[in-house]
Amino acid sequence: MSMNNVGRPTRPEASNDDAGFNSLSGGRGLLQDEPLIFELGGWTKTGVDLPDVVPADSALAGLTRDEPIGLPGLSEPEAVRHYVRLSQKNHAIDLALYPLGSCTMKHNPRLNEKMARLPGLSDIHPLQPQSTVQGAIELMDRLAHWLKTLTGMPAVALSPKAGAHGELCGLLAIRAAHEAAGNGHRKTVLAPTSAHGTNPATAAFCGYTVVEIAQTDDGRVDLADLEAKLGDHVAAIMVTNPNTCGLFERDVVEIARLTHAAGAYFYCDGANFNAIVGRVRPGDLGVDAMHINLHKTFSTPHGGGGPGAGPVVLSEALAPFAPTPWVVHDENGYKLVEEAVGPAAQAFGRMSAFHGQMGMYVRAYAYMLSHGADGLRQVAEDAVLNANYIKARLSDLMSPAFPEGPCMHEALFDDAWLEDTGVTTLDFAKAMIDEGFHPMTMYFPLVVHGAMLIEPTETESKAELDRFIEALRLLAQAAKAGETGRFKNAPHLAPLKRLDETLAARKPKLKWKPVAPAPLAAE
């Protein structure tokens, strides 16, 4: 028998408590400290190989940049490590549940990424001849058809680049419609106190004054208050449905009727469309305009803050005012109408250069095809089921803001249950990080004290929900048992501890600056 006689232990020693253990170099196992590219890179280093340039005569004399720019360069291996190390400091939906209410952090299918990278869809220019991009324009037309069918609305403006941009598009269409009808004096927009911040910000950008609508005790628009505030000065109402408390506006049809009777339009913030897609068509509710966040309901990735896409569906009344461009087709093929002339003269303008977020259209269309009408309906049902399950299983320990009746796709709790524990909503949320979960949306909507808004989405399994619920239950019990240390300094196990946001705001450091050289010693 021959054998390798260099033995080594293959079972760990009995573990001592490693709390407080620090490495010698500052490294932390798989989690590396990582400098800035400005500290890593070289001023003459590059990670690309380009052909040598043979200078030729140029008319740019006096226009050229002769001073250093100040850009560090990295070789390819250094760049890959830098970004991989940074990536490992991020939470992600691919890692664990990401229950940010109002944000719809659902699984992002990789098929969509693959499709968006087909050269025929990614490597095409917005201004090459339309005869050479018939497939791209057809895809926009198909997407428009799905969005119109799912919402029961007759028209859609695809070009807005995100939800807030869609809100702007919708309000501008409303404004144009009022002006065309001689109602330019309508300068007020009504919105509930619970609205997303983008609603009042968008209305103000359009030159409108925002007046808040009161909310009932069960978390809905107060019809009497709405009726009292409607009038000849009101251009539109902006109502989110399902609303930001995670509840369906039961009286939405009456809201629409009152609004229209007062000569105003009904803008619906469609951020929460995921709860009703395939089951409820906003067109059946009396909505005049609604944006659809493709990066929420239709799964295009959030990408650390963007990009998104915010197509806006429009009613008959608003359709003539839709911004350019839009798609038409006949026996000769597909065409993008890019200029507001002729029959399109009522268009209010354009939202941006080019035709919108094509890369997001491809992903959203692949997602729609994958789910189909049946699957999308199931999306809404499972999203609502998951949220109600969380609400049901946490209601004995935490206090639901609106205990009566079902919620839609998100479960909202207030902080009444934390009273006298010394633990705040923020502390509780930060402690969730130590348990491996991203915090829920906190302190929003503003109408609920210490709000905790949990949106699980439909792409969580029951096992993952149970794991999440169990973690929250343990935390809630710890909070009630007075384990404040667990919460006050949380997170303990994240790459960094709580950050000093006061310092950041008082003395803003918004870019890297070279460290000043040490002053020369006096001779």
Binding site: G73, L127, R279, G306, E460
Partner: protein, 447 residues
């Protein structure tokens, strides 16, 4: 359905825990008139195979830029993007994370944004840059709105060299907010006309360099005239690679510099998503739109990054916010930043020179064609030519022969009387044989 983990048994169990008899009971608040018992009239779900087939069908009906000679620019440019960029932006932790509102578990995205802001500030020669806006055109519109807040004046003067679709985006927002726009007639070299249009009511002057006709301009004189009138100078750049060769907006006196960042790290994607660069002087930062990432320390004193100066933003300031923007172009900014890190100063300068040389070679080849006139006096990688024929017709003719010749100016601004003007762009991806073939076909087409 492959994306939905719940089994029928799970659903039944969960309904039991909730105490609901059926899923319909959870939708009880929906008015009866809007309840749908059946799926909408659209196809049923499909597997990966079927979806791939459909998307491939659509993609094959498009002529991609890589297929042959391609000279289209006018605000979007086909550059080579290193493979590393697309690999990294598809990492789960970047692709599938949200806006970094919880800094303890978002340092990856936050450090990237800080590096991005630092790169953009350096490129534009400005004090500070934000964490991106949607694209160059909306960034321009936001800059005009910011100038209104800073100067408390309500008039914007736009040069005749600004991309007409950028003008459109500005007008949409400005008119809604009560800012009047004075856009000068399309002009290839517009400096003096811009200076003449500035008056005491002017909040801002918007100039583009290189402009839509490709003309590169030292805007220092315009800056001086704007400042003398109490107006801000907004400098727009649609080709970010030009920063590697041309004087920066900051060096020429810009108060706000905005740009389309697509050229670095991002593909053409038929117009979006792109990435808007936005930079300004430090004293105006509290009037800036969009997110800002700043450096700070954590409870242990370790360096870290957070979103800061958030009281400008819609989620706090609501109707008094500096912008309504929420979702921005985070992942495109990451792509930009990775590509820029790979290039470094040396790579960017070389890339810019290469782009310029390709344009010089192309212009030389086209200028030799009888009847074709190069209109742009000083250009970077794009220039305007006058053809003896309608430019849109020529483009269609050449497209039929496999060459995408450029953008007819009439597509951007019908009725400007420039139907014979073609905008021709080159990049490092332009081959010498592309130039030769283009010139040969064009010579035939304009005869």
């Amino acid at each position: 359905m492959r994306y939905l983990p719940l089994t029928p048994e799970d659903r039944a169990d969960m309904l039991g825990v909730i105490g609901a008899g059926s899923i319909d009971e959870l939708f009880v608040d929906v008015p009866a008139v809007a309840r749908r018992s059946e799926p909408v009239d659209l196809p049923h779900h499909a597997g990966e195979i079927e979806v791939e087939r459909e998307l491939l069908r659509l993609s094959r009906r498009n002529r991609s830029a890589a297929e042959g000679p391609f000279f289209v620019g006018a605000g979007a440019y086909r550059h080579h993007v290193p493979a590393t960029v697309d690999h990294i932006i598809q990492r789960s932790e970047f692709l599938t994370s949200y806006t970094p509102y919880q800094p303890e578990i978002a340092q990856g995205t936050l450090q990237v944004l800080f590096e991005f802001q630092s790169q953009v500030a350096a490129l534009t020669g400005m004090d500070v840059a934000n964490a991106s806006l949607y694209d160059g055109s909306t960034a321009t519109a936001e800059a005009v709105m910011m100038a209104q807040r800073v100067t408390r004046k309500n008039k914007a003067v736009l040069s005749g060299g600004v991309h007409p679709q950028y003008v459109g985006a500005v007008e949409t927002l400005a008119h809604a907010a009560g800012v009047t726009t004075h856009r000068l007639p399309a002009a290839i070299d517009a400096e003096d006309a811009v200076i003449a249009a500035i008056d005491a009511d002017t909040a801002c002057v918007v100039v583009q360099t290189p402009n839509v006709f490709g003309t590169a301009t030292d805007v220092t004189r315009i800056a001086e005239a704007a400042h003398a009138a109490g107006a801000l100078l907004i400098v727009v750049t649609t080709e970010a690679v030009s920063y590697g060769l041309l004087k920066s907006p900051g060096a020429m006196g810009a108060d706000i510099a905005v740009a389309e960042g697509q050229s670095i790290g991002n593909g053409l994607n038929f117009g979006g998503p792109y990435v808007g660069l936005f930079a300004c002087r430090e004293k105006f930062v509290r009037q800036a739109p969009g997110r800002l990432c700043g450096e700070t320390v954590d409870a242990d004193g370790k360096r870290g990054f957070v979103l800061t100066l958030s009281t400008r933003e819609q989620h706090i300031r609501r109707d008094k916010a500096t912008s309504n923007i929420c979702t921005n172009s985070g992942l495109c900014a990451l792509a930009f930043s990775i590509h820029m890190s790979l290039l470094g100063e040396q790579g960017l300068r070389q890339l810019a020179s290469l782009n310029h040389q390709k344009a010089l070679a192309t212009a030389k080849a086209l200028a030799a064609i009888p009847g074709v006139e190069i209109l742009t006096p000083r250009f970077f990688n794009e220039f305007a030519v006058r053809l003896p024929k309608d430019a849109a017709e020529v483009v269609e003719t050449l497209a039929a022969h496999g060459v995408i010749a450029g953008v007819p100016y009439s597509r951007l601004e019908p009725g400007a009387g420039l139907d014979d003007v073609l905008l021709v762009a080159t990049t490092e991806t332009t081959l010498d044989t592309d130039i030769t073939f283009f010139a040969k076909l064009l010579a035939g087409a304009v005869q």
